[in-house]
């Protein structure tokens, strides 16, 4: 096979990789995209964001139907046909995957289904089903992503001990499910399985679920979990697991005592590790940090000037939209534009019930860093829209610089928080002040009003809530 010559090779076809390939092609570069999975889209499309949201949305109805009874609309107990649910989910992935493949084709991006291995800073060896080949490139973008961590003590080779990848396949609805790790993946999948009827127990080593989110935003999710899950154990630790017939025997420590329990299935969601092995990284060579992520500068450039890294493999928050933004930054750096990742606001969304979303500075971060801020909160109990939705378990808060009154951070918990947070991102990126947000008319009755009203809370004159002024004027 003759070596392929290309201006840019992108290794990895996830939301970072294909975004980079497409943008570079749109800018006129000759681009080759190498992906080992037959379907483009990476973890996000195949084993992450998309399938989990499909399942969350499908199963949400179960809980909503139950809730509906108190409003006088009563449904019969739902019948769950797992194979149809799986097929529907798969059809969503199929549609999206095909869409990406078509978009690649239309742009003239050469997509190669192969494993890639760097031979040098200008050559990538590819292993395809048809044999070995080589790609000579001027620039490379490494976007190989991450995978769920599976610590050795849990890796018994037993399929009943799952990571998110297997859990999303929903082979069965286990009677009992232990989730190790109360981060966003554990909490989201816990929500899916709890809706389907599993007895879910979450074990979290820290003193709170959803690490990184402010405590007041986590509270409604915790309230839901206490109701829908069998148990959420904080400051708890799983120390041992073993196979016990068709179950898993789990030894854990909680409240100072050891427990031994049997679970039908266990989900390990204790974080993600970079896919840095067997890539030929040492042949480029690329410098990695102590956790194995590739080190990059503010233009996503590695220590080897013509090689860039984006998305999960470059470390930081492991979110698809961060990868997509880094894709644009890297491509612009390659085409000689002055791009930079500094001061980019990356929102975070957790699709639990209710959803949690935040962006910019959080209240706890401000406290930890000693940054002077004012926090304005608007509880959803005062929102007409939240009441009509019967979802008053929400809160919108703004983190404001007391001097300039600029909005430094936005946090939302509640129904549809993931959709609402985008306005917060815009406000922070634009350097908007609380006045700007308060002055913009928001449609009534919508949940978006809570953003405007929380800005008004800051000034002490929100219409739908009353705040007694503590500082005499």
């Amino acid at each position: 096979m003759e070596a392929i010559k290309t201006q840019l090779v992108v290794l990895g076809g996830g939301p970072g990789g294909y975004a980079a390939a497409f943008y570079a092609a749109d800018k006129g570069l000759k681009v080759t995209l190498v992906e080992q999975d037959p379907r483009l889209g990476g973890v996000c499309l195949n084993r992450g964001c998309i399938p989990s949201k499909a399942l969350l949305n499908a199963t949400k109805l179960i809980g909503e139907a139950q809730e509906s009874a108190k409003r006088g609309i009563v449904f019969a107990k739902p019948q769950i046909d797992l194979s149809t649910l799986r097929a529907w989910k798969e059809s969503v992935l199929q549609k999206l995957g095909q869409g990406i493949a078509q978009l690649a084709q239309k742009r003239g991006v050469q997509v190669i289904n192969a494993r890639g291995h760097f031979e040098s800073a200008h050559q990538l060896r590819i292993e395809t089903p048809d044999g070995q080949g080589f790609i000579e490139f001027e620039h490379a973008i490494v976007a190989v992503g991450s995978k769920p961590a599976l610590p050795k003590i849990f890796d018994l080779g037993n399929p009943r001990i799952m990571t998110s990848t297997q859990a999303l396949e929903i082979e069965e609805i286990p009677q009992s499910l232990l989730i190790v790790g109360g981060g966003y993946i554990g909490m989201e999948l816990g929500t899916v399985y709890a809706s389907l009827g599993s007895k879910v127990v979450v074990v979290e080593a820290l003193d709170s679920i959803l690490a990184g989110a402010d405590a007041d935003l986590v509270r409604p999710v915790m309230a839901y979990a206490k109701k829908a899950f069998q148990e959420v154990r904080l400051k708890a630790k799983v120390v041992q697991m073993s196979t016990a017939g068709k179950q898993i025997r789990v030894t854990s420590q909680f409240n100072g005592e050891d427990r031994e329990e049997l679970y039908d299935r266990v989900l390990i969601s204790v974080g993600r590790v970079p896919n840095a092995e067997d890539l030929g990284i040492e042949n480029v060579p690329l410098t990695r940090d102590d956790k194995g992520f590739i080190k990059v500068d503010t233009q996503q450039r590695t220590n080897t000037p013509n090689v860039f890294a984006i998305g999960d493999i470059a470390g930081g928050v492991m979110l698809a939209h961060k990868a997509a933004k880094e894709a644009r930054i890297a491509v612009e750096a390659i085409t000689g534009e002055a791009s930079s990742s500094s001061h980019v606001v990356i929102p975070a969304v957790v699709f639990t019930d209710p959803e949690v979303a935040w962006c910019g500075l959080t209240e706890s971060e401000a406290k930890a860093k000693g940054i002077q801020v004012k926090v304005a909160k608007f509880p959803w109990g005062a929102s007409g829209r939240a009441l009509t939705l019967d979802r008053t378990d929400g809160l919108t808060k703004l983190i404001i610089d007391p001097e300039t009154e600029r909005i430094l951070g936005v946090g939302i918990v509640g129904h549809g928080a993931g959709e609402l947070i985008a306005e917060g991102v815009l406000a922070i990126e634009m350097g908007a002040t609380a006045t700007d947000l308060a002055e913009c008319v928001h449609p009534h009755p919508t949940l978006s009003e809570t953003l405007m009203e929380s800005a008004e809370v800051f000034f002490g004159h929100a219409t739908h809530t009353f705040i007694r002024k503590t500082e005499p004027k």
């Binding site: 002055a338 009154e405 600029r406 700007d436």
Partner: protein, 433 residues
């Protein structure tokens, strides 16, 4: 014991080692100058923080060092001579940051980089540490190589909008096309070396670092400031009589009452009447900075060259304190024991050549100050007093000022008021408490 680079003063975190005065094995005493460091403002001696033997010199001439860098290790008297482990002077954080931001190679299809707008690097003050601006504005700023931390936003919350960016670019362009200060070394093509030996015997020796700094500063001040020098002669006959009367009392307190502290007293009153003489021009922001403090620089002639130590808050000090300060600073300057801090922050400078002799001269304004007062030696001259000729002591006075900020009329009024304030000094002013 490690001698680390102390904080040199506001906004000055780094310096270049210009000379090292000690070597390993030398015995040093506490306070003895170990090396000299140059930063944007001055050449400062770095004193030893302890007495002992020099164990290690961690820097060499020409090294750029930051605050906290270990410069020299001294085995303190009485301590063991075992070398103490010490980190080598760390490379500057700012340098390494810059390095990562520099793009390594220009790709073939990269656009031609925009030529950077020439800016005097000394105008790099951060005035907006966390600038708020829309992503589109930030993008353009990046493309033009403009640092938003140097722009003050005009919108609510200090947000920088396109108009602010444009105004900033305008300012930079004006600066770039303004007559450039000619640096005393580097950049400009060096003049050809002339072989003076062809016409006779010569001795050559390298310019000292201090001389190079003086040279650069003088060139910059002379070329960037449109100077005007206003001359006058002050009749100081009564003042000298007053001085003579009170000098013994000062002597008894261990201080020498010279003419200079008396001039400072009168000067402070005059500066308060004419605040524009106690000001600076902020060329970047196009603002006048009027200072409500009075730190008077005193030009001191030393063997090594010119030093201008600063008397802080001269307006709050008594004549006795001023006399003492003058003497201390002059001695320190001559012994090269003056700290960098003591050379900074002056608001107005006095250059008094009276002790040496001479008459009028045209002093060069000490940037960023806007005026300087040059004094010659008072001499007896036939003077008309009440229509009769009398022998009076006249003091040659020369006021150089920055005509960008100060007009001739203001300078004339300043001189008149200064003379008035000087002749208005009374025994009550000189009397010791």
């Amino acid at each position: 014991m490690d001698v680390k680079l102390p904080k040199l003063g506001e906004g000055s975190e780094t310096g270049v080692v210009v000379s090292i005065l000690v070597k390993v094995g030398d015995a040093v005493t506490k306070g003895q100058t170990l090396l000299e460091l140059e930063n944007e403002k001055s050449v400062a001696p770095i004193p030893s923080t302890a007495s002992g033997i020099i164990q290690r010199v961690n820097v060499k001439e020409g090294d750029k060092v930051g605050v906290g860098s270990v410069l020299i290790s001294v085995a303190v008297d009485g301590e063991s001579n075992a070398p103490t482990p010490s980190a080598p002077s760390s490379p500057l954080a700012s340098e390494s940051i810059q390095r990562t931001e520099v793009s390594h190679t220009a790709p073939k299809y990269a656009q031609e980089p925009t030529p950077p707008i020439a800016v005097d690097p000394s105008h790099g003050a951060i005035i907006n540490p966390s600038p708020a601006a829309a992503p589109s504005v930030r993008k353009i700023a990046r493309e033009l190589g403009i640092d938003l931390t140097q722009i003050r936003g005009t919108e609510s919350g200090g947000r920088i909008v396109m108009a602010d960016l444009r105004a900033h670019i305008d300012r930079l362009q004006k600066l770039a096309f303004a007559p450039k200060a000619i640096p005393g070394r580097g950049q400009s093509t060096p003049a050809e070396s002339i072989d003076f030996a062809q016409w006779g015997i010569v001795t050559r020796k390298p310019l000292t670092t201090l001389r190079k700094v003086i040279s650069r500063r003088m060139c910059e001040n002379w070329t960037s400031i449109p100077h005007v020098t206003q001359f006058d002669e002050f009749d100081i006959t009564p003042l000298l009589a007053l001085r003579k009367e009170f000098a013994p009392a000062y002597e008894a307190k261990g201080a020498r009452l010279t003419l200079t502290p008396l001039i400072i007293k009168a000067l402070i009153s005059t500066l308060k009447q004419h605040p524009i003489f106690n000001a600076s021009i902020d060329e970047v922001l196009e603002e006048v900075v009027l200072k409500h403090y009075y730190h008077v620089g005193i030009a001191v002639d030393t063997e090594a060259g010119l030093f201008v130590p600063v008397i802080r808050d001269a307006d709050t000090k008594s004549l006795l304190e001023l006399s003492r300060d003058l003497e201390t600073l002059a001695t320190k300057a001559r012994d090269r024991k003056i700290s960098a801090e003591e050379l900074k922050g002056g608001t107005f400078t006095i250059s008094n050549q009276g002790a040496i002799g001479g008459s009028h001269f045209t002093p060069i304004v000490n940037k960023p100050e806007v005026a300087i007062l040059g004094l010659g030696r008072g001499t007896l001259k036939p003077t008309v007093v009440e229509k009769r000729i009398e022998a009076r002591t006249l003091l040659p006075v020369a006021l150089s000022y920055d005509h960008r900020l100060i007009d001739g009329g203001s300078a004339a009024r300043f001189i008149v008021d200064l003379q008035h304030n000087l002749s208005n000094l009374t025994p009550a002013d000189l009397k010791l408490a």
